[in-house]
């Protein structure tokens, strides 16, 4: 426990993030010689679902597929510099992820204390029966199949306790994203969990860091409007946090990207819904009084988070077996290309009818309007496209595997049987997991941590 400022950086903001981004972050924190922490947030609703699929296929999998690539370049320098590594890269299988970290460390001749946070996996727990559907999903049908997985969002307490117990690496499954940063901050400063403005400040810092470069120039560039220098080398963010919870956001020297009021404001509002009540397991965060001050280039001071008591119920992601998704595309270019692409779409609709195939179907024509459109192409049918150019008919089919494969095969058959000049068919068929969110009374949730020592013996 200390009153000294604490450095905490981000190494990844999503599953699939740049695998070398953490290297300059570790170097910059290590150069200060005061230790610190780095967080890896790699677990979205969709990536957790994918982890469940992977674990079903192989019980030793189901954690972040890039885990070894994320940690290999930084594990040794981070441990040497006293930088605690915290990540939800355990995904659907934190125990297996911790073992993978131990193995990686062994290969470097290291044996760090690795903690595994569990309690998020509530599949089969009777408390699930008493849970209520999250109001945001009220408009969706509840899947009839039994759940494959139930993962509740845990708070930061077990992470802080694990660090108190000497953990140098903390592996979690589903925790609230900001908790990855709040845990090390509470462990360092000894903030009381009832000191809600401090817990709120730590949660805000976690929220700003947890998407990695999204606060430092990633996902921001709009040429001529919002330019970002050296996007191929964007520096991931580091926060220098004071004992009162005030923080300065910065990035490693000699990296690209930018940190200013605009980039921080975009990330501040990202996915928070009501700015006066961002619900987390640790606190209800109010950001309406947040102040952002540009202290120097790429240095923004963040203050003014306010906290109210955490909500009585915690959110859980429930994964069910979903449909199969088949995607198939074919290109048409040059004179009358749009009309030929439209003809391809009409032909596929008729072929599905002739063969008695009834998948859910969406057909976009890329080059016209697609991602803003709805499943019935109402914008495109309304005349939002012109007649020539380079278009790709893109089909998405949802349904059982056989139906989806058969529908995709029909797109392939457009080569010879479809409109003139079609080319470049690509087909991909994948199973899906569908998720719903439910709310579980927090007293039914039991988070805990364990140090992975036995696995090393």
């Amino acid at each position: 426990m200390s009153g000294q400022p604490f450095l905490i950086g981000s190494g990844a903001g999503f599953s699939g993030d740049r695998v070398d981004a953490a290297i300059p972050v570790i170097a910059a924190i290590a150069a200060e010689g005061r230790g610190g922490a780095i967080i890896f947030e790699t677990l979205g609703e969709r990536t957790l679902a994918l982890g469940q699929v992977a674990r079903q296929a192989d019980p030793s999998k189901g954690y972040e597929p890039l885990l070894e690539q994320f940690l290999a370049p930084i594990l040794a320098p981070a441990l040497k510099a006293g930088i605690t590594i915290v990540g939800n890269f355990g995904a659907a299988n934190p125990q297996a992820a911790a073992k993978a970290v131990a193995k990686l460390a062994q290969a470097h001749g290291l044996a760090p204390r690795i903690a595994v946070v569990t309690g998020d996996d509530m599949l089969g727990d009777p408390a699930f029966e008493e849970s209520e559907l999250w109001e945001g999903d009220a408009g969706l049908p509840t899947p009839v199949a039994a759940p494959l997985a139930v993962n509740v969002y845990l708070g930061a307490r077990s992470i802080a306790e694990a660090i108190h117990a000497g953990a140098q690496v903390v592996v979690t499954g589903r925790v609230a994203d900001p908790a990855l940063a709040l845990g090390p901050l509470v462990a360092h400063f000894g903030w009381d969990w009832d000191d809600l403005d401090r817990i709120a400040a730590g949660t805000l810092i976690g929220h700003l860091l947890e998407c990695g470069s999204q606060v430092s120039g990633g996902y921001f560039a709009d040429p001529g409007v919002k330019d970002v220098p050296d996007m191929a080398r964007i520096g991931f963010p580091i926060a220098e946090v004071m004992a009162d919870g005030a923080a300065v956001l910065m990035k490693p020297p000699a990296t690209g990207g930018r940190i200013d009021i605009a980039t921080v404001t975009e990330q501040l509002l990202y996915e928070i819904h009501d700015p006066a009540a961002y619900l987390t397991p640790d606190v209800t965060l109010d950001v309406t009084g947040v102040r952002l001050e540009q202290l120097a280039p790429n240095r923004v001071r963040v203050t003014g988070a306010r906290g109210r008591p955490a909500p009585p119920r915690l959110k859980a992601t429930v994964s069910y077996p979903g449909e199969w998704l088949g995607e198939a595309g074919i290109s048409y270019a040059g004179p009358n290309a749009l009309a030929r692409a439209e003809l391809a779409v009409c032909t596929i609709r008729e072929r599905l009818a002739i063969r008695g195939l009834k998948p859910r179907l969406r057909a976009d024509i890329l080059g016209a309007v697609s991602v803003f459109d709805d499943d019935s192409a109402s914008l495109r049918q309304g005349g939002a496209a012109s007649g020539s150019g380079d278009y790709r008919a893109h089909f998405a089919f949802g349904g059982d595997e056989a139906t989806v494969r058969a529908a995709c095969q029909e797109v392939g058959a457009l080569y010879c049987c479809g409109p003139a000049g079609g080319g470049g068919v690509r087909i991909q068929v994948t199973p899906r997991i569908v998720t719903r969110s439910r709310m579980i009374a927090r007293e039914k949730v039991h988070a805990h941590f364990a140090i992975l020592e036995e696995a090393l013996a």
């Binding site: 969706l140 404001t265 501040l268 949802g398």
Partner: protein, 113 residues
Amino acid sequence: MTTVPLHRLAHARTGDKGNRLNVSLIAHDRENWDLLVREVTEARVLALFAHRGASAVRRYLMPSLGAMNFVVEDALEGGVNTALCLDAHGKTLSFLLLSMDVAVDSNPLATAL
């Protein structure tokens, strides 16, 4: 009175939670804050997303940051694990909001860009 795309006046970022879409809108210049509040209403945003099945829009204002947050219900066609759209997250939809035409007076700041 003339109209400009919202893209001239503000920037935006989209996020998703299940079937719920979150779009922030941030003024490039605080001078245009009142104009944005007047023009980019819950009703207009709902109309913009109506073809995708949006059922309700809630707008949260953060005047101290020149920013507002729109929470759009049921706009993601079932969400990332269900939608057939190429962009099942709805990540691109921030620029659908920025394509909205807004009426500006002869405010030079509004038309300078």
